[in-house]
Symmetry: C2
Subunit: 527 residues, 2 copies
């Protein structure tokens, strides 16, 4: 079900968002991101700049045959024609046409200083460039939106010129005039006043595009909606140049849950967390754990004070039911949390601790000791559960006894690099020696350990290492740096995370690896 | 020079900010953070909750003898007395007094649902708790601010009760009533309206405390100032529970540079970047490269379009001169940047490339190839400069020729872990074999390499590895994961960063290590 054209959520992750430092999408990545954005119900997906970026030209070509969107229309981005040529003869404008998208978003200068000093043309020629290019694309059957670059800075310098640019576009057939805070220097109060003024002076359909240079991109976008725009531009997770863009997810969640606007289909809102994390993976950026609405910490409570009260009534401590956006409320196990948090965490894991105050006390002190050494159980539920069960009932959590391991990495003269590991251990009294190779030292260690254990524990065959993270914790006063390793393991049906900490990255990995396999074996009742 | 009492910047990094998932400060850390916050000119530093957290009690005790602040006053945080006891008999209130800070910030319930369901007392007793505790501390000579927890949610449920809490506090001698958006669900427009209403109904001096659950904490804070508050609370880098708090740095920069308020001494503003990064180090959190104003990418331009125009006039493309907040404008070398960026980057490095179009072309294609394999030069200027010089003039950038290296990590039965590395290499035709030990494999490799090279290159003795970062880049369609290592090296006078990428973390580290030493030797004219 489409929500119609009354309100546009326009996502530009694939164009403006790709300007973020460190991001580089392949064409396959871009197709995957477009599919994900479609799943949260945005109305428009700006795919790139055909003609200017070869990868983007290829994206639009492949999108025609490979991309089926349920909610969104695809948008090609480009600039108005060059000065002094006809639109129909401008290669970049023709590439826009040839992208064959239903919608084109054109960028135009709307600040006289940029026209004169960066574009180096006359104010009149710039208006003609807008008018001609819009008219050409409308005649080709395209719907055209106009991004007015530097609109707010331009408005401060010369209020009328931006309005003339808007008029030129609308007279030529444009549908939306998007006011862009390109340099990102606006605050919501001032921005809202300009938007309201432009809306009342022109009566045009307006949109908003905000950068986050003052930390106000989301607020600016929402303030513009309150002031009358019906088209908002954002990027997944706020990715973008400099401080980034307005975060599409926070904008959608704010519009729906705080402003009561139905801007995406109802069924899409609970997809926000999944889509946010999946796009972070494709962009190869660690998800921001503290991102509003979708971060893994967005509804996580750490303070002991809060944890006690949350046992009474969760809704008093959350601005929103986390399930609405597909998130969970987590209780963190940390030095600040104390007993109430450990009990709640036990409840999350299905273990009733209320009758075992001594065990809770032992767990709390053990966690505090380990955290003082750099361990962190906040992201490593599986390691925490092993610790909890060991303290609770002295449960057997070790699959073997280690005698020793050895890891070797060799770089030879011909440039080839070899990694090899040997483990010596005892399983049920039997001494086992096994060697494994891998593409790196931890992979080799994992191979050796599995080789040694799989005969006794066949469930290991179904488990694999899904993710591996390394964090160097800076040394503090008098201590050396330590390395914290997080390992995510999956057996196909579920996934769990374990932690290891040591000054030596191999030993830290070993701890996390052993916890990972032990936890998996417990799940499969082999331990 | 103090700015007087007209406007308060109140930082709570050490109390509310310490609730961020993953953060744990030692007492030494807390003292260091307080000194840093003082350097940016905040008026108040909330140091913790004496009595509730042993570490915080110790912090205030040590602060009395060890902490000398130029700009800020120290604040102890605590809650109002418990129900049914006298303030003078409440241990937590006495601990607040005994912290001996000039200012105390008390938190009080101001939402009737929290009074009845979480605190489980009567509305009248809660008012008495506020009144008694404020009066007791004022009589002890303390200045008292009152944090009205859940003020905005409470105001929506019952407008009058929050005002009665404020009245109780002011009648007992409080100086500021801080309206807290504790659950963080507000947007700036609505929040500004409530603040303006409360200000006009009470005439009290008001403050604002915002959480970032809607992504609007900074905007909400600035909107509250526009609506009349003269006291703002924030945390360094926005650290805090869930999505965090209003970022003190963005709030200060927004107030000074966008709203024209003189809220910190003029000389302090250029310290923002340094202090932000230093506190991130102490909190052990990687600095957010895209943080407004202070992030290393906050003024970095990637788009080829922008890079060309920036050559004309930088001020058209920045919302602020980066130097105002102590930041730099950087031009990024990436696949999108193209020739203009490489030329500008060369200019940053003091190399004029305008006369060497072919070399620029070769550098651009080499960078594109390497970035496709996961390399990134955005953060590794030293590796980029080595690449540039090698392409430009075929300059000698290698200190030796490698025959082979071998790294060994062994974990023995007694639990001890050994790391050892051996390198075999040629320097000026001479074959050298050297072995090093370390607390981990990379450290051992570094030791072995230095042992082999220091006789020929004595400048190596002054260089040391200052930081080491590891990032696992997720595998894409058909390729395995690769590891990217960044190494920061210092010779005491300056620091430089190099990069290495390989599927094997040891080999990736080797690349970054070799670049690090080569770059250092070039600086010392030994290469």
């Amino acid at each position: 079900m489409s929500l119609g054209d009354a309100f546009h959520v326009f996502d530009t992750t694939l164009r403006d968002g790709a300007q973020r430092e460190g991001v580089s999408y392949s064409v396959n990545d871009k197709l995957a991101v477009a599919r994900l954005l479609d799943e949260i119900g945005v109305g428009f997906i700006e795919g790139g700049w055909p003609g200017a970026m070869p990868k983007d030209t290829e994206f639009f070509a492949r999108a025609r045959s490979e991309l089926t969107l349920r909610n969104a229309e695809l948008v090609a981005f480009g600039s108005t024609r060059r000065a002094g040529v006809r639109a129909a003869e401008d290669r970049q404008v023709l590439a826009l046409r040839d992208a064959e998208t239903p919608v084109v978003c054109l960028v135009a200068k709307s600040d006289i200083r940029h026209v004169e000093r960066a574009l180096r043309t006359t104010l009149e020629e710039n208006l003609a460039m807008v008018s001609d290019t819009v008219a050409f694309l409308v005649a080709e059957g395209r719907r055209v939106f106009l991004d007015c670059e530097h609109f707010f800075d331009g408005y401060a310098a010369d209020r009328d010129y931006g309005l003339r640019v808007l008029s030129a576009a609308f007279e030529a057939g444009a549908d939306v005039g998007v006011l862009c805070d390109t340099n990102g220097g606006m605050l919501p109060m001032g921005l809202g006043r300009v938007v309201a003024e432009v809306a009342s002076r022109t009566g045009f359909r307006l949109g908003i595009h905000c950068q986050d240079d003052t930390g106000c991109a989301v607020a600016n976008t929402l303030a513009a909606v309150e002031a009358g725009v019906t088209h908002v531009q954002g990027t997944a997770n706020g990715y973008g140049e400099r401080a980034g863009n307005a975060d599409t997810f926070s904008v959608i969640a704010g519009l729906v849950t705080k402003m009561g606007r139905s801007v995406v289909p109802d069924r899409c809102l609970p997809e926000l967390v999944r889509v946010s994390h999946a796009i972070a993976e494709l962009a190869n950026i660690a998800p921001d754990t503290h991102q509003p609405y979708v971060g893994s910490s967005a509804f996580a409570h750490k303070a002991g004070l809060h944890a006690s009260a949350i046992k009474v009534s969760a809704e008093l401590y959350n601005h929103l039911d986390p399930a609405v956006v597909g998130n969970d409320m987590r209780i963190l196990v940390t030095e600040m949390a104390g007993r109430a948090s450990v009990e709640l965490k036990g409840r999350e894991l299905g273990i009733d601790l209320s009758a075992q105050p001594d065990a809770v006390g032992r767990v709390v002190s053990r966690v505090k000791e380990l955290e003082a050494d750099g361990w962190s159980f906040e992201a490593a539920d599986a390691s925490f559960e092993l610790l909890l069960r060991a303290e609770l009932d002295g449960a057997r959590t070790a699959a073997f006894t280690l005698e020793s391991y050895r890891v070797l990495v060799e770089h030879w003269g011909n440039g080839s690099v070899l990694s090899e590991a040997t483990v010596k251990l005892y399983v049920d009294g039997e001494r086992i020696i096994a060697t494994g190779e891998g593409n790196g030292p931890v992979n080799a260690l994992d191979q050796a350990l599995r080789t040694a254990l799989t005969r006794r524990y066949p469930a290991l065959a179904a488990m694999e290492l899904a993710d591996y993270k390394v964090r160097i914790l800076a040394g503090r006063a008098g201590t050396g740096a330590v390395t914290r390793v997080l390992i995510e393991t999956t057996d196909g049906a579920s996934a769990w995370t374990t932690v290891g900490v040591h000054e030596n990255v191999i030993e830290a990995s070993w701890h996390a690896l052993v916890d990972a396999l032990s936890y998996g074996l417990r799940r499969h009742s082999q331990l």
